[in-house]
């Protein structure tokens, strides 16, 4: 496919400005059986995250007698793409994404409180349109918050990048496919990186600009997370 023009007169293919986030909506508590769960719509992304545990470790030999182990599984549904029918299950990309997401929650969960146990985080992309990993992290964070598993904070994630030479916020799929650079990030409440990945070519100045823009934009995403948590308890009761 030929590379389309991604920005024209400061407007992107989906009508957004370069520093505009797509619409985000999060609903907590969607999987009844789970300890905690959340559904996120981020632009055209539709993703479910569910948390189970702390529970006994299977297989037993993987258990750590000093702390809980975290298992994370990120996966894309066969019907999640606008184009092809995907193959069910894990591939190298989804395994890497599962791993980097796992590390975020290993950092924020108080794992020492549950020695010898495991906490499972599942993320299923039902519909994907770029930025699924950051949407997944944002949803999983809410799922964990309502699970009652103690954490230091609620991580928040955002996808930054460079397209047509310009730094932009929140790449959709087309932009991601033709990006000069793709930079997913996740932050703790002190705005320290819990996730940071990048590809393509970036100058140091470009990276700094990305950080500035990201830390500004995550405020709106954090609000969505907190609103989802508050709404969950409102719906549950009065």
């Amino acid at each position: 496919m030929q590379k389309p023009q991604l920005i024209k007169d400061g407007i992107r293919t989906d009508g957004r400005k370069v520093d505009e986030l797509r619409k985000i909506k999060i609903v907590a508590g969607v999987v009844k059986n789970a300890k905690g769960s959340a559904y996120i719509e981020w632009g055209n992304n539709k993703i479910i995250a569910a948390v189970y545990g702390p529970k006994e470790v299977i297989p037993m030999h993987e258990a750590d007698p000093t702390k809980a182990i975290i298992k994370c599984r990120y996966s894309m549904a066969p019907f999640s793409s606008k184009e092809e029918h995907g193959k069910y299950g894990q591939n190298r990309r989804s395994i890497e994404i599962s791993k980097v997401i796992k590390h975020i929650f290993e950092e924020v969960i108080f794992v020492e409180k549950f020695p010898g146990s495991e906490i499972d985080i599942y993320v299923e992309v039902l519909q994907g349109d770029g930025g699924t990993r950051v949407a997944s992290i944002t949803a999983a964070a809410v799922a964990l918050a309502i699970s009652g598993i103690p954490m230091k904070e609620i991580p928040v994630a955002i996808g930054m990048g460079k397209i047509d030479g310009t730094i932009v916020v929140d790449l959709n799929k087309i932009e991601d496919n033709f990006s000069d650079s793709d930079v997913p990030m996740a932050f703790n409440r002190k705005n320290e990186f819990l996730l940071l990945q990048a590809d393509g070519l970036l100058t140091k100045e470009e990276f700094k600009k990305i950080c500035e823009l990201a830390t500004e934009k995550i405020k709106a995403i954090r609000k969505e997370q907190l609103d989802a948590i508050k709404d969950y308890y409102k719906v549950m009761g009065e």
Partner: protein, 260 residues
């Protein structure tokens, strides 16, 4: 098996022997069913179905390719139901493969036998046909996946549009009409505990089953699939009774499906 299962099993068996159920249902009463049409936009057709707290999501996608060698004049149909770990503590990765496969094949059988997806109308050219993929994700498990998955698949089929195929490429944004469908199929699953028969087992009831049978029916009064599951046994009279119930409950389910 969780520790609490034995306690649940004895409680359920006790209730059923008195023709009662945990949620005050009658023996041949389904739980509350809700259907959401086309919740997904990337799939060419989709549906979400909830039966009680069991929730499933079906997505249908097309590819173009070769026919199956034994059916060269028909499009292909592939059906898969996935017992996602996220839907229940009981689904540990890789531990439920047999169940997944059986459920997938039973859901597929009903659709295929009845040509609910009319694969005879999905031929493009010699050795070139539409490949239809029906994938069902279980989002929350509380028993009776087979019926929920069948219902979701059928609703998705009704709402699926066939994309255009031009110059050797699928043009997914443009459609040439609805997915051809010859019949409307639903499955009805019955449980057996002792000598009591009942429809739509919940998760706790599934734990206590002696046996299980699924009967799929069509809108023009055919049986299009039967699967006796688990151990246990059924007498011929019992199955004949359940066939009547299958048509009766099947029609109720069919009335819930939304067409244009």
């Amino acid at each position: 098996m969780e520790a609490i299962d034995l306690a649940k099993i004895s409680y359920v068996r006790d209730l059923i022997s008195n023709s009662m159920r945990e949620d005050d249902r009658k023996l041949f009463e389904y739980r509350k069913i809700s259907i959401t049409r086309n919740p997904l936009q990337n799939a060419e057709g989709s549906a979400k179905v909830a039966i009680g707290d069991t929730e499933v999501l079906c997505g249908i996608k097309f590819e173009v390719g070769q026919p199956f060698p034994d059916k060269p004049d028909e499009g292909t149909l592939t059906t898969n139901v996935y017992l996602l770990s996220l839907s229940s503590e009981r689904f540990i990765p890789f531990a439920n493969e047999e169940d997944e496969i059986e459920i997938s094949r039973v859901v597929d059988r009903g659709i295929r036998s009845a040509y609910a997806v009319d694969t005879t109308k999905l031929v493009i050219a010699e050795n070139l046909v539409w490949n239809v993929f029906i994938d069902v994700y279980v989002l929350n498990y509380d028993g009776n996946i087979i019926d929920a998955a069948s219902l979701a698949a059928m609703q998705a089929i009704l709402d699926t549009k066939l994309p255009k195929y031009e110059d050797g490429k699928i043009i997914r944004e443009e459609f040439q009409g609805k997915l051809p469908s010859k019949r409307t199929v639903v499955s009805t699953t019955f449980g057996k505990i002792g000598d009591k028969l009942f429809v739509d087992p919940s998760m706790n009831e599934e734990l206590a089953l002696d046996s299980r049978i699924t009967i799929s029916t069509t809108n023009d009064n055919y049986i299009c699939a039967i699967q006796k599951g688990l151990k246990g046994s059924f007498s011929i009279k019992e199955v004949e009774l359940l066939i009547d119930k299958a048509f009766e409950k099947g029609d109720e389910l069919r009335r819930l499906l939304k067409g244009d």
